[in-house]
């Protein structure tokens, strides 16, 4: 154990002391903060823009204004509903509701001229127009065509098309209303018809930890599937992240000719175990740091947003459910060992980074296969394809985790866990042989075929 610890410690500190590690560690939170900030600033920093509508009446201008008001009302209603769902008293949520409803970015102003040529100085910013947000140029103008068949949209900025799309929706709505009126129907006929549609709620057939049978399905019912999907993805992500570490770490030792010195001080399995643990710890450190960032973020939002704690609770219950988490942990550990030893053994056959890079593509393809399986299983965990795929050793660690919330037969769970143990042991045995050949005897990637044939009792071809 001491030797494993010493190898682990050296490798772990070696990785952690590298500046690239800290860069990776900081990258995700930084990316999230910058991304979120960018989104917020993009929304709030967007300037108020003026537009005008040139038409004989105010039919189209009112329709566009009506559409903007409908959107504000909808946003306020959604904010109110969310506050209600999270048990936030409406009085406390007033500001959020007001924020959602307010914040108009496009404001209609009276047209300073009637033709495009006359309006051009205001559209190009040569002249300013007074409005509720002060003096600004005209961002866009709508001009009704002479035959009244088109409401032409003119703007110097063709990339911001929000106003144009809003106008299109407004025109469609106006057309519907006219059509309904012409048929003698109430203008709100379609809305009323939609509101009258019967609801299709989901009910819990069997009693679960989430509650009694017969009750409506809630987030507590869906949390285990979401948690298991997150765990499967986490395992995949961890394996994906370690490839580089395992390949490069072994290449460093091989190119530095250090194995002979090491192998007179530690046994090969101890060396492998120490290195695997170090890479596991490095990726865990990274992911735990990111998780910590997420937890702190959640805690902050839970303290700021009443009701957030209630939302998180079903996920905590799923994570602490032994029926879900124990098989998941076994799958996680065995999956890591299986893939980790495989990649480390391949790394031991490479002399240079270039050689290792040629291995990365097939490794990535190998890793994409479980990703597809995870996707299919998440969409339809009861699918026969998932049942069959879960018996394929390279997929089992991921798919067993995903199947656990759906109560697969106990014999299947035990059999698949047993199979994983056997397959992982075989892979570790084979990988140790390959590692010894690479690390001790200097075998290269070209000799892998011969090694496999020898292991299978076949004679490699001469020459």
């Amino acid at each position: 154990m001491r030797n494993i610890y010493l190898v682990f410690r050296r490798d772990y500190l070696g990785y952690v002391k590298a500046w690239g590690f800290w860069l990776s560690l900081a990258a995700v939170p930084l990316f999230l903060i910058v991304g979120a900030s960018f989104g917020y600033f993009a929304a709030t920093a967007s300037p108020v823009r003026y537009f005008a509508v040139v038409e004989p009446t105010r039919i189209y201008a009112d329709a566009i204004e009506g559409e903007f008001q409908r959107r504000s009302s909808e946003a306020a209603a959604e904010a109110r509903a969310l506050a209600e769902q999270m048990n936030i008293p409406l009085a406390e949520a007033q500001d959020q509701v007001a924020d959602a409803a307010g914040g108009r970015k496009f404001i209609e102003v009276p047209a300073p001229a009637r033709t495009l040529e006359e309006l051009r100085p205001w559209l190009t910013g040569e002249r300013m127009i007074a409005g509720p947000a002060g003096e600004r140029p005209l961002f866009a103008v709508f001009i009704l065509s002479e035959d009244g068949s088109q409401l032409e949209y003119w703007s110097g900025d063709v990339n911001v098309d929000t106003l144009q799309r809003t106008a299109e929706i407004a025109m469609r709505d106006l057309s519907r209303r006219d059509a309904l009126a012409a048929s003698g129907l109430n203008p709100d006929f379609l809305k009323q018809a939609d509101a009258a549609a019967i609801k299709v709620p989901a009910f819990r057939l069997n009693a679960t930890q989430a509650g009694e049978s017969g009750a409506e399905v809630t987030m507590a019912d869906r949390a285990p599937a979401i948690v298991s999907a997150a765990l499967a993805y986490f395992l995949w992500l961890m394996i994906f992240s370690i490839i580089q570490y395992l390949l490069m770490g072994t290449i460093e030792e091989r190119s530095n000719k250090i194995f002979d010195t090491l192998l007179t001080s530690v046994q090969l399995p101890q060396l492998l175990a120490g290195k695997m643990l170090a890479v596991f710890a490095v990726t865990s450190t990274m992911m735990l740091s990111w998780s910590l960032f997420g937890i702190v973020g959640s805690a902050v939002s839970a303290s700021q947003v009443p009701g957030m704690a209630d939302m998180i609770q079903p996920f905590i219950a799923a994570v602490t459910d032994p029926k879900l988490i124990l098989p998941a942990l076994v799958s996680f550990v065995l999956g890591y060992i299986l893939y980790g030893t495989l990649f480390m053994a391949l790394g031991s056959l490479c002399d240079t980074i270039q050689e290792a890079q040629t291995l990365l593509s097939p490794m990535m393809i190998l890793l994409m296969l479980p990703m597809f399986a995870i996707f299919v299983a998440f969409q339809d965990p009861g699918s026969p394809i998932v049942d069959v795929a879960s018996w394929i050793p390279l997929f089992t660690p991921f798919l067993l985790i995903l199947r656990m919330p759906h109560d697969p037969p106990m014999w299947e769970v035990l059999a698949q866990m047993g199979m994983m143990v056997v397959i992982t042991a075989l892979v570790v045995w084979g990988a140790t042989k390959v590692y010894r050949a690479g690390a001790v005897h200097g075998a290269g990637i070209g000799e892998l075929g011969g090694m496999i044939k020898r292991a299978l009792g076949m004679k490699p071809k001469a020459g």
């Binding site: 050296r10 030792e253 010195t261 192998l263 007179t264 001790v440 005897h441 200097g442």
Partner: protein, 323 residues
């Protein structure tokens, strides 16, 4: 039962169809410095790797401190491999501490020992310098210090002088002598005979994977006895002329113009007898020098000039090519 730290009995190692070491038997007596000599590709490194259990012999047996090489006995061994290698991003001090701890030192002992060794060898001010920033000679020194950190009972050094400048070669010689004085048993391989002559109590000579000599320096020299080095103009077969007269004659390594021959003297014969015989044979003599046997001559006499020429070529790894 022998108290020799290392005993090889009929050890054989093959890589595919190539036999790297064949039926090799020798032992390293406790407290002695043993030179393991031979040209590149003779099987020295393979033999040392078998001695350490890094690879197992296909036939025969290796006993390290009386048992098959295992971690427990290896803790008493300090090994310097032929192909030097350290973690380039670690600093000198941490490197010595790491390898010292792997050999069983406590963290505090390893730290103290690293400081002591670095100071003693003039590397104290480079203790926190990364290996990648050290000169090749300094990095080699650090590796040697890592080998000595745990005060091993038995040192196995594979081509320890290779790549060192004359000053550092002398420093290493002094270190080996100091370790020997401390009581360590030392086995080192080299293809530079002069180092072996200065340091060794015993030598084991290897050629093409086979042992050709195993004994003390005196025993090695005795295989040749005294003789005379005679340099002739090319084209004269001195062996054909002098062998019928009872002299042992064979080609020696050329050192300058002409062809060098060595005439072995039997008991009772003197160098002047050899010179007289050469002149009587009408040989075109350029030079004459009475000489005592050197290890190189012993080696030439045992394995031939072609093998001896390989002693002077730079070291190249061999095992990896034949796996």
């Amino acid at each position: 039962m022998s108290d020799a730290p290392l005993i090889l009995s009929h050890a054989t190692k093959r890589f595919g169809a190539f036999t790297a070491v064949s039926d090799l038997s020798f032992e390293v007596p406790a407290g002695q410095i043993v030179g393991f000599l031979g040209p590149n590709g003779a099987g020295k490194s393979t033999s040392l790797r078998m001695s350490l259990g890094v690879m197992a012999p296909d036939e025969g047996e290796v006993r390290l401190f009386g048992a098959r090489p295992e971690l427990k006995s290896l803790k008493r061994v300090g090994f310097l491999p032929e192909e030097r290698g350290l973690y380039k991003k670690m600093n000198a001090r941490d490197t010595i501490i790491y390898f010292g701890r792997l050999k069983g030192l406590s963290a505090s002992d390893a730290r103290a020992r690293a400081d002591e060794l670095l100071e003693a060898t003039g590397l104290g001010k480079f203790r926190t310098t990364r290996i990648s920033k050290l000169s090749k000679g300094m990095a080699q020194k650090v590796q040697i210090l890592s080998t000595l950190a745990h005060r091993p009972d038995f040192l196995i050094l594979d081509e320890p002088f290779s790549g060192l400048d004359p000053v550092n070669q002398q420093t290493l010689e002094d270190l080996i002598k100091a370790e020997h004085a401390r009581g360590a048993t030392i086995l080192f391989s080299t293809h530079v005979m002069e180092h072996a002559e200065r340091l060794c109590d015993r030598i084991v000579m290897l050629a093409r994977g086979r042992k050709v000599l195993d004994g003390t320096l005196e025993e090695a020299y005795a295989t040749l006895g005294s003789g005379a080095r005679i340099t002739l103009e090319p084209g004269f077969d001195l062996a054909a002329a002098l062998t019928p007269k009872g002299f042992g004659v064979h080609r020696a390594a050329d050192k300058g113009p002409g062809e060098a021959w060595r005439v072995d003297l039997a008991p009772g014969q003197g160098p002047q007898d050899a010179l007289r015989a050469v002149l009587e044979a009408g040989a075109p003599i350029i030079g004459f020098q009475p000489e005592e046997a050197r290890l190189r001559d012993v080696f030439v006499s045992l394995v031939g000039e072609a093998e001896a020429a390989a002693l002077d070529t730079p070291a190249v790894p061999t095992e990896g090519e034949v796996v």
